[in-house]
């Protein structure tokens, strides 16, 4: 059920457009994510779904449109080269703290142990005390099921363990919204489940999540809203049962049947 919001959206994306050279990757995307929403963003590769996520936390600066986090618009202006840039980097940094991101390739800091990865931003960005950060990190690692790996370096962990560590790192920031950029795409098939289980737990806790994913089962079962992106526009947007059960566009039908073939193909 899509709840009718009483408060302002946690994240509001308005008319966001992004070009890479001549390629228009996003063409005026608008989207509201409310507290507690779990939104799956699906689409073929090249449809712009990762770019959309990266525009939300300004890893890519949108060429058009704006992003509003909890009522505060991230201020952008035209830079010298004509590309837009942040007016105030400190504001962007502050916004990013509320928008923790989990990457396809984990991107853990390889020179730090797992627990050092988790406490890094709380201590050095948010200025929390080391004792408190450590205590919380322990609890988070326990929650994602890798408490025993706290003093291991990322290189000694499996992909699934690394991604769970990355999720703990994101959680440690107390983010308002979590952005997942294809969190299971770089994993061996047998490791996908352990990461999805953690994500399902987070969804059950009522966390606000935006998930770019190829896991149709996750999108169908866990999210309360599915967005199908096609060539830089939102082609369909609705409850999973509607989007998957009764696709309106040919594009989505094609996409879903290709996903089905991929899922049922020889493994």
């Amino acid at each position: 059920m899509i709840s009718t919001p009483l408060t302002q959206p946690a994240v509001r994306v308005r008319n966001v457009g992004k070009r890479f050279g001549n390629l228009e990757v996003l063409k005026g995307i608008s989207l509201d994510a409310h507290e507690g929403d779990v939104i799956s963003i699906v689409g073929a590769s090249g449809s712009g779904k990762s770019t959309l996520l990266r525009c939300i936390n300004m890893l890519e600066i949108p060429d058009e449109g704006e992003v509003v986090v909890a009522g505060e618009t991230i201020a952008l202006r035209a830079g010298r080269s004509g590309k837009r840039e942040a007016v105030d980097r400190a504001q962007v940094d502050r916004m990013r703290m509320q928008l923790a991101m989990v990457f396809q390739n984990f991107n853990l800091w390889t020179h730090m142990t797992v627990i050092e990865n988790v406490i890094e931003a709380p201590i050095h960005v948010q200025g929390r005390s080391r004792t408190e950060a450590l205590r919380e990190a322990e609890a988070l690692l326990d929650k994602v099921g890798i408490a025993d790996k706290r003093n291991s370096y990322p290189a000694h962990l499996s992909g699934g363990q690394q991604q769970r560590a990355a999720i703990a790192r994101a959680l440690a920031m107390h983010p308002r919204v979590m952005l997942f950029d294809e969190p299971t795409s770089a994993l061996d098939p047998e490791l996908v489940g352990e990461v999805l289980r953690v994500m399902r737990t987070l969804a059950d806790e009522g966390r606000t999540m935006l998930v770019v994913t190829h896991e149709m089962a996750f999108a169908r079962e866990v999210s309360n809203r599915v967005i199908f992106l096609n060539q830089g526009v939102i082609e369909e947007d609705g409850r999973p049962a509607d989007v998957f059960g009764a696709p309106k566009s040919d594009r989505l039908r094609q996409f879903l049947s290709s996903q089905l073939r991929a899922d049922m193909g020889p493994s």
Binding site: N107, W109, T110, H111, H124, N151
Partner: protein
């Protein structure tokens, strides 16, 4: 073999070690600071900073250190502007000329080593830091420097050894470090082989110590490459 002569020579040569170490240490230290500046200029993405740094590296890597020493020692004094400048009391002394040449030379090489170290840090890790709200300076300090240092250290250790040996060139502008003293003894005794063997031995011992120290530092800085000896230990206070 004339043990007495060898021992005596060695003793005389050792008196040049403090000057050798001084030249090496000061030029490497000053060169490292200059090199860091050059590396940041190259990485700034600003052509007005990048190209001067490129040109500098091109010139100082592309010409022999010996030529640079000669140009600074003999060449600078030809310009009245230099002779009348405040730096002249320093630049007329071979010691400062040698130090300047060594510093400028190592800065060119080291800047490329530092640049390589910085560029070696995977971009994904920098993005992850950005996504956590880390500022540029914090990312530089906490993510790029610790990792870049580890990558750069083997090459930089080489550079330190090269510079220690290069101090020998200071002898051509009259400085009495180890090689300078060796030349003097040879001109008095004509026993080139024994004297140079003694001199070579000194450089060998020094550079062995340096390479061991660098290897030790490398091990210390790369805990992730070692097996974890104590799986229960708490992380060190990071700063």
């Amino acid at each position: 073999m004339d043990i007495d002569f060898l021992a005596q020579t060695l003793l005389q040569l050792l008196s040049g070690v403090p000057l050798l170490l001084q030249l090496a240490f000061l030029s490497i230290a000053a060169g490292a600071i200059f090199a860091a500046l050059l590396a940041l200029m190259r990485l700034s993405g600003n052509p007005a900073l990048d190209y001067p740094a490129r040109g500098y590296v091109f010139v100082f890597r592309g010409t022999p250190l010996l030529v640079q020493i000669f140009l600074i020692y003999y060449g600078l004094g030809q310009f009245p502007e230099v002779r009348e400048s405040l730096a002249w009391p320093l630049l007329r002394q071979p010691y400062w000329c040698a130090l300047l040449a060594l510093t400028l030379n190592t800065a060119a090489y080291s800047s490329e080593i530092i640049r390589g170290g910085i560029l070696s840090v995977p971009f994904g890790q920098i993005e992850a830091a950005r996504a956590c709200g880390m500022s540029r300076w914090l990312i530089f300090r906490r993510i790029i420097v610790p990792q870049g240092l580890r990558v750069a250290l083997p090459a930089y250790g080489n550079e330190i050894i090269l510079m220690t040996r290069s101090t020998a060139l200071a002898s051509v502008i009259t400085l009495m470090e180890v090689t300078g003293i060796a030349s003097k003894i040879i001109s008095e005794t004509f026993r080139a082989v024994e004297v140079f063997i003694c001199a070579g031995l000194i450089y060998l011992v020094l550079n062995f110590a340096i390479s061991r120290a660098v290897a030790l530092l490398e091990r210390r800085l790369s805990p992730q490459a070692r097996e974890l000896s104590d799986p229960t230990h708490l992380p060190e206070p990071a700063r």
